[in-house]
């Protein structure tokens, strides 16, 4: 689903990403760990075609995403730091807007079903400006659910979610994978985000320092690896 080869990105003289390569297949989830400033958001923005790399190759859902970003975007769903939600519109109105913009079926029944899926059906008519951060995160996911995304890119998706919300998100990601989707979850905290992951990559100093299957790693090993690569134990993040 995602194939990145030797991605490099510089801002002026500062090289934020250096020869980053990764593969995420259909039905799998990659957890991208790294401290603040490691380049996770830059990498996700490149994968989402929102930012062009200085060099390298990128294929998303079989499309050369650097040559045909518009075509690749059809398969990409993004939940970034910004929720892409309009504060003056209700949850239902936001979903209607983004579904039509993505060329999907915006029938009220379908939109309500998506809200049920993210457990926001009780707040369908409330304006987004009254929502908590966790509710906005769920609504952003509902927006993705309604699209035709087969590749899900999530930047710090657990931020602002309570324990129940985190469990819900993990279950959602596992279900998305089971449906054949590919997921990349970027986080600076390995205390969250690993339940749904099949593989773990640690980004440090703009490079992928570790890329291993999660099944082969214990929590203690992950903690030790992270600490040795990032000068931190991660639990504080």
């Amino acid at each position: 689903m995602i194939s990145a080869r030797l991605l490099r990105r510089s801002f002026g003289r500062a090289c934020v990403l250096e020869d980053v390569s990764l593969e995420v297949g259909a039905g799998s989830c990659l957890a991208l760990l790294g401290p603040n400033g490691a380049g996770k958001t830059t990498l996700l923005r490149i994968l989402a075609t929102l930012l062009r790399p200085s060099s390298g190759q990128l294929t998303v859902a079989g499309v050369d995403a650097l040559r045909e970003p518009a075509l690749a975007r059809v398969a990409i769903g993004v939940v970034a730091h910004g929720s892409y939600l309009y504060e003056e519109l209700s949850a239902l109105e936001n979903l209607r807007f983004w579904t039509v913009m993505h060329g999907g079926d915006a029938s009220p029944a379908r939109l309500r079903a998506a809200l049920v899926q993210v457990e926001l059906d009780g707040s369908a008519s409330e304006r987004v400006r009254t929502f908590s951060a966790g509710m906005k995160r769920r609504l952003a996911l509902a927006r993705v659910v309604l699209g035709s995304a087969r590749v899900l890119l999530l930047d710090e998706p657990f931020t602002g979610l309570d324990q129940q919300g985190r469990k819900w998100l993990n279950d959602f990601l596992i279900a998305f994978k089971a449906g054949g989707g590919a997921v990349v979850v970027a986080t600076h905290s390995f205390a969250t985000g690993l339940d749904a992951a099949d593989r773990l990559a640690i980004l440090a100093g703009g490079r992928i320092a570790v890329d291993r299957p999660c099944a082969n790693l214990s929590w203690e090993e992950i903690r030790r690896l992270y600490a040795s690569l990032t000068d931190g134990d991660g639990s504080l993040a």
């Binding site: 929102l50 990409i76 970034a80 892409y84 939600l85 504060e87 003056e88 039509v100 913009m101 060329g103």
Partner: protein, 226 residues
Amino acid sequence: MSAYARRAWIVLWKDLLTERRSKDSLNALLFFSLLLLFLFEFALGPDRERIRAALPGLFWLGFILAGLLGLGRTFVVERENDCWEGLRLTPGDKSAVYLGKLAGNLVLMAAVEVVLLALSSLLYDVPVFAVAGPLAVALALGTLGVAAVGTLFGALTAQVRAREVLFPVLLLPAIVPLLLAAVSLTRAALAGEPLREAGAWLELLAAADVVYVVVGLLTFEFILDA
């Protein structure tokens, strides 16, 4: 309805709904326009002939100053929660977003113009309803051109820190030919002259509208992706 038309329509629907609820632009525009009318009345005195002679220029001065307030804010709502980025990620021709935004701005400007004209009719005893047809043509063509350029420059400056300074600096020189034509046509319409007598201005205004709308449609995707 085609996917393109649906996208343009939903952008218009979203912008009007947001404006109706927040009233960010409309309140400021209407209040500002009313203030202008009273200032003109105060400055020009009770001489009705003098006011009528100056009215085409005063109308457009009011529309433009109100437009500067409203058009510059067109894309501000897209900066909130990174909606701009979300629009970039949508598939299909992005000029549909421009078209929807342009239509939204036209509706807002038209609302301000209707209020200004109605109040002018009352305050200055100007028979605007007797010349409603030609006046509507002059105002519609002028407003379309101003809104087309304003929407494009609103997008261009939306991500810039000095947006409030840059927007009028870009917009005002670009709309000078439009304004000259629009004021001439409005003067002819208010004087009860047939618009064809100001044919050259009419052609200039129509041509400028076509050019500005086409440029907006063709360049918007690059501005959104910049």
